[in-house]
Symmetry: C2
Subunit: 222 residues, 2 copies
């Protein structure tokens, strides 16, 4: 009777230990998989920033990450899926670095300036600058899911710029009769100008030029 | 004696005919070679505009031109040389389409507007838009002779934009105390904004947005 009870307790304990071990092992494997995938995407984002999204392939990433092609393939299945996940990873990174911190700044002109400063910081954090600028140029003539994804995220970003103008109106910094979409166009043109002068022309006075132009742009809306 | 003279005349006539035939044949061959090379470069420019300069290879051009790889190779010897010659061909095309016609327009504000209109027309003539905008993005992170060539031509273009401001000062349209390099930065930013909204976002109101922004930019300098 005692032995039977002992055996029953032993089985229960073993089952608990086994399940606990299995669960922790399962989560460790899943966690490791997530970390590896995130590391591959971070490396892919860096590669896309420098050489273009089209040049990021399962083969090139395998070489950079010192992994087998099948190891990378297991995470992404296709080049297109890899590109889409790099864009999605970049969007999360962009939201955390550019958008969310600027929303903590007082709305109106201070928030507009903070958003631009955050954007410059985000671009400087990547060796080839803002991936959305380069990838948009790269994919404007390549229809397909990658261009659609870029287009969708870029529309959201331009909406955010228009909303900046709207909140500046509400804060009393901008006139109420302004065209907020026109503001977004002019502000984004300046962003592109900064990217070009800074990245391609390596003009050391780019920040100064951009600040002067931004102040003039803002003045036209006050 | 008569036969000797006749033979001498015949030899002379034959030599003239042969030389004439050889020359015309030589020039025909050279002309044909030049035409083929120009056709390949025109096709390469179109391909670079749509997919990027890096994607223009001797193999891809051979396929498009329905020529053998060795036929294309004979004209260009290397991918880098091909890319450099496409840029040089684009510069000639750009000079003829954008720069020279605008110099015939009255200097000052009319010439600035003509230059921008010509630039829009040049970009619209290529299925992927202005190659200098896309190639600059593509090569900003790729050091080498192609980037150096692009950089050199782009510097000349930015100098041309600064000179537009200078001639507007001389024409009495702009104030004499303006910073002509700042003007070039702001005007080029607008050009990039136009390219992006028109090509990537397919915004049907791009021309209207660009004209409003250009008028504001000009007003700041008058």
């Amino acid at each position: 009777m005692l032995r039977k009870k002992y055996n029953s307790i032993r089985i229960k304990i073993n089952r608990i230990i086994f399940q606990k071990y299995e669960r922790s092992c399962y989560f460790r494997i899943v966690r490791k998989g997530i970390d590896t995938k995130r590391d591959i995407l971070a490396s892919g984002l860096e590669m896309a920033s420098q050489y273009g999204l089209e040049d990021v392939t399962i083969g090139s990433l395998a070489k950079t990450m010192q992994m087998s092609k099948s190891g990378i393939f297991g995470h992404f299945q296709s080049k297109e899926n890899l590109q889409l996940l790099i864009i999605s990873y970049a969007v999360r990174h962009f939201t955390d670095t550019v958008i969310l911190p600027s929303l903590k700044v007082e709305r109106g002109i201070p928030r507009i300036k903070a958003m631009i400063d955050n954007w410059i910081e985000w671009g400087d954090g990547l060796s080839g600058g803002c991936i959305f600028v380069s990838a948009s140029n790269e994919f404007s003539g390549r229809p397909g899911p990658v261009r659609d994804a870029l287009l969708s995220y870029q529309r959201s970003w331009l909406d955010s710029l228009a909303k900046l103008a709207d909140s500046a109106v509400k804060a009393g910094d901008f006139r109420p009769d302004i065209d907020i979409k026109q503001f977004a166009f002019e502000l984004y043109s300046l962003i592109l100008g900064f990217h070009y002068y800074h990245r391609m022309m390596k003009d050391v006075n780019t920040k100064d030029k951009q600040e002067k132009a931004l102040n003039k742009l803002i003045k036209n809306y006050t």
